[in-house]
């Protein structure tokens, strides 16, 4: 299939019925189990090794009407928390045997309990990620936490996980993440050949289908991209930060690009490409996974690491990509992203002095009208073009 056809096919799935694939997979594999993964970080290897399908439950998109969840949450709670509950309350998560949450923010933490209460048939797991990365007990602690999770999935799947099972899964996900890193490299180096909306589609589809299939999709896409040779357009190169949990509508991403930006890097779906390098396969797989979170994972608004100031990472990212501006795109009411903006302020001011301005925008998963955001980005681009 051509690269255009491949992307169009998955774009349609994402826009129409993203979760149908997993439901269909379950129907085609009697006795198998599906586990929902709420953003951001899930050690999907544990789920995969148990023969289950991990599926990203990343909100309800902008076509889901929120009718029930609004009565259960306050108005200042972000959209993704509400829409995820709405999916459950309207029976759209019927195919899930379990779902996993973790400590990213207060609403997400509480969503785990809300799910437990409302959906007793579902195995709701909650990972307590360490908040202190410098303690000598951190690795032991997270290893124990992952062992506990492994035990829970063993019971659900009715299968004991061997080191071989886990190592095979780690190897597969290493391959998937390596290909995703490659996809991002292609976009960063030749943004005219791969739009952000396209790379988003190719990444997001990986949260819905088995990793084995996603690896093939990515290989096909990367091969197809080698034939693309577009002329670079006169656009401003930016990096985008702040959309690590709730995801902006695809139309908004397209709108940002059409307003005159090449987005060289972003933090969309960061939990599905959360390691900067391969996780070691040899040795104790659970400990390797734990160590990878502590030492090899990407920086993010929801990972607390006093060794690695986030603002420094932001500056490094600007330097590495050669971006000429930063766009902060945070979800409305997203505390971690909006707090980050305050933490980034000093770094952004430093960049500003070097002639690298920034723009802060807010979005909501359930957005229909993109004019305002587009006008703001266009003005931002013009302020650089009409210098």
């Amino acid at each position: 299939m051509s690269i255009d056809g491949l992307i169009a096919q998955y774009k349609e799935i994402l826009e129409d019925s993203p979760l149908n694939y997993a439901a269909q997979w379950k129907a085609n594999h009697p006795g198998s189990k599906v586990i929902g993964c709420y953003p951001i970080f899930t050690p999907v290897e544990l789920i995969h090794a148990a023969g289950m399908l991990p599926v990203g439950i990343i909100g309800g998109g902008n076509r889901l009407e929120i009718a029930h969840a609004d009565s259960r949450f306050q108005s200042f709670i972000c959209s993704i928390v509400k829409s995820t509950l709405e999916l459950g309350l309207t029976g759209k998560l019927h195919f899930l045997d379990g779902i996993v949450f973790h400590s990213i923010c207060d609403p997400a933490r509480n969503l785990a309990s809300v799910f437990k209460r409302n959906f007793p048939q579902m195995m709701v797991e909650y990972i307590h990620f360490p908040q202190n990365m410098t303690s000598r007990f951190t690795e032991d602690y997270l290893t124990a936490e992952y062992e506990r999770l492994k035990g829970a999935y063993e019971r659900l799947a009715g299968k004991t996980l061997t080191d071989d099972d886990l190592q095979r899964s780690i190897r597969l996900y290493n391959e998937q993440r390596r290909l995703l890193r490659e996809l991002y490299r292609v976009r960063r180096e030749t943004p005219q050949n791969l739009s952000t909306a396209e790379s988003y589609v190719l990444t997001r589809v990986g949260t819905l289908i088995p990793v084995e299939e996603h690896i093939e999709v990515l290989k096909e896409a990367l091969a197809g991209l080698r034939d693309r040779d577009e002329k670079p357009k006169d656009r401003v190169k930016v990096i985008l930060e702040g959309s690590f949990c709730e995801q902006p509508p695809l139309e908004l991403i397209e709108g940002l690009e059409a307003a005159g930006c090449y987005i060289l890097d972003d933090d969309f779906l960061i939990g599905w490409r959360w390691f900067v390098e391969d996780i070691p396969v040899e040795g104790d797989p659970i400990r390797n996974l734990a160590r990878a979170y502590i030492d090899q994972s990407v920086y993010s608004g929801v990972k607390h690491d006093s060794r690695e100031p986030k603002a420094k990472h932001l500056i490094d990212k600007v330097r590495e990509t050669g971006a000429s501006a930063v766009v902060i795109l945070a979800a409305k009411f997203c505390e971690p992203a909006l707090f980050d903006y305050a933490l980034y302020r000093r770094a952004l001011e430093k960049l500003e002095k070097e002639g690298i301005p920034h723009l802060s925008l807010e979005f909501e998963e359930k957005m229909w009208i993109f004019d305002k955001a587009r006008t703001e980005v266009e003005t931002f681009v013009e302020s650089m073009l009409f210098d």
Partner: protein, 277 residues
Amino acid sequence: MVFVAGVDMGAKSTKVVIMDDQKNMRGKSAVRTRPEFTAVAKEALGLALDQAGVQERELSYIATTGFGRYNVPFRDIQITEITCVGRGAVHLFPKTRCILDIGAQSTRAIRVLESGKVREFRTNDKCAAGAGGFIERAAKYLEVKIEEVGELSLRSDQPQTISSVCAVLAESEIINHVSNGQSVENILYGVHQSLASRALALLKRVGLEEEITFVGGVARQKGMVKALEETVKKKVNVSEEPQMVGALGAALLALKRLEKIRQNGREAPIKEEARVA
């Protein structure tokens, strides 16, 4: 002589400015925006060209702005209203660094550099309570013509507070004031004060600089200017035709762009969208 045009297609009216290469305004026009965008833009352009005594084929560059900027197929480039208003206001008032633009559907606070380049800006939410459309609805309820609102509001002696942040709820407040026997003048000034306080919130977010310029159709209402000056506690600049500032800025940027293209010896618009249409 080189001529350019700035076309500002706003939610309520479409304004055109014809300018020569010495930055003299040679012609201008304003017509009501209707759904037939191309025809409206042609009509407004024709009127302005007539006034300037310039033929359409003599135009070297056409820049469009406003919400309908993409709906003018004969444009060379489209530029946002924020960028245009910044340039236009600084052209008229060179010392201004802070601009408030209230149009029919949107309100924007803009901070600019000496060159007129936009430094920071904030726009109102997708809510009508902070823009001209709200005044229009209030005028309709009070059965006064929109052109009279500015003068009437100036005559207020006991302004009535409109506290709601929502246009629909504010309307019921207006109805309450009417049924309590309050004068039209006092209610209208209350409406202007309500808009001014919302504008202040936006202005504070971009930073209230020393010299403020007030532009957009709503700036034609004298009562609104008074309410704004009272709220920001200083005089604000208002040009003779504040609604034309966007089109003026578009024309200035058209000249700037034309100059750059000629320097580079090439004919290419900045953005690919302009070529597509």
